[in-house]
Symmetry: C2
Amino acid sequence: MIDLDKGRIQDLFDFQIAVDAVRAAYIAYARGSVQTPPVTYLGFPGANGDCHIKSGHIAGDDAFVIKVATGFYNNPSKGLPSSNGMNLVFSAETGAPLALLRDEGWLTDIRTGIGGALATQALAVEGVDHVLIVGTGLQARHQARCLQHLIPDRRLSFSLWGRSSEQAEIAARELQGAGLRARIVEDLAEACRDNQAIVTTTSAQSPLIDSDWVPPGVHITAIGADCPGKQELDVELIARAGLLVCDSPEQALDHGEFQTLARSGRLNAAGVVTLGDVLSRDHPGRHAGDQITIADLTGLAAQDIAVSQSILKGVAA
Amino acid sequence: MIDLDKGRIQDLFDFQIAVDAVRAAYIAYARGSVQTPPVTYLGFPGANGDCHIKSGHIAGDDAFVIKVATGFYNNPSKGLPSSNGMNLVFSAETGAPLALLRDEGWLTDIRTGIGGALATQALAVEGVDHVLIVGTGLQARHQARCLQHLIPDRRLSFSLWGRSSEQAEIAARELQGAGLRARIVEDLAEACRDNQAIVTTTSAQSPLIDSDWVPPGVHITAIGADCPGKQELDVELIARAGLLVCDSPEQALDHGEFQTLARSGRLNAAGVVTLGDVLSRDHPGRHAGDQITIADLTGLAAQDIAVSQSILKGVAA
């Protein structure tokens, strides 16, 4: 069995191979060729922690993947990261364990970054070059870096907004250090008007972005809401959008950004398009420059399979 | 992270520590202090394989366990065992991975053997010394060895019955080699009359044991039936029994030995007792020497937690 720690996984990571794998995984998912059992949840309220187990198999793949992701939110007070986890790869032909990827959650961060960037690239107006990132955490930075990676032929201009301008400053400096054009902004309403695409990456439980702030033509990728009660966007903004896209309709309507509108009975599965169908062009995506488009991503096991397989391609090479 | 392969796990295994842990796990489960999410299932029909993921946490334990078990039934034609798998142990305080037990399914076999032996010991008539084992596979042998381990003060007399008397001969010789008193029997009906306890370990899909063959006072531990369609005992034998015990009522009535009687509407959860309640003496168990008792075991994640923890105690020691 191959056993890789986080450092080795990062060494083996190849952005283009991973992007191609994640894109193919979204398309396979949309076409119904990914076997994805329900997510397993374990809760540890005494330690303010939880564990999610995702698993899946893409039809035709010679391997299947089980991902264990833990979040223990008192860890920072002990000097430990909140997130941890691993991806396990098994043969879909013999059931034998093939690889243990002890990524400590890094592959999840990366596949989430790639997924968001693919959605933003696919749905933003042509020639998009001004992008607002809302939030200043790890995922904010992954979204910016992955998007710039996907659009190598022009230098994007990133505006960063966070509740703490100190944290925003740190994030901006990190992105600048990686060669990205990044600056912090203080006025979120103004920034929503000044950018063609917005990527939200916060754990907000009430809307940060007002519908009135968002002009026609803007695309929004909403990453933050991934469980009941989380919400980053004004529900009227979602109702007003011309195109609603998500990775998984079941998840988005149940516990993603679209949950509030769905719960009020104003949105159902017929009102959303699956990202894989946009990436495969089975759905045309944005149809006009003045359309507001929103992608709500909650994460698929298919992405975990894809990034894990992309790392193993690096081992085989 | 501790990483142990099957050989090292077998070296560290201590029967008494494991028995104590499994007994405590059954009791914790019966008392509602085990968190057990639904079992995850992945199917690979093209390769005649499947994967089950069980997970759980016993309240108060400092660790939780995820078990991956694969069964790929074409493997023997490739010279590989059908079963494989591993138990993963994580901190319930920080979410960090603590141990990887690459047991290839051995811990599952052992915890199943211990579970069956605990049930047989708890429910058979006092002084039981004649035990019939039905089936000749790995689990048949585990059941015999674990039961003899649990009752060290007297030498049990095991009768083995299998469809293939050749396989029965091999199993008997193996048990004899391990110091057990074992012989094969040809007539199953006669053997049911001649023994005080019966342990069934086959994958039968229609009853092997007729109600008429089983005299009063016999205890039966039914291990084989663990999915819809499997059945080892005449449904009238179950209906006739004075005491029905199971590890998990939900599982037993849905896909264990009790499924057929439950499906016909003649048995529900009120008609069964949980094994943990018998082991803790919250339920008195057998109340008369002429009572027929049946234990239907389908396997609990709590057992996986228990044996995994017992191995880690060996590492710490």
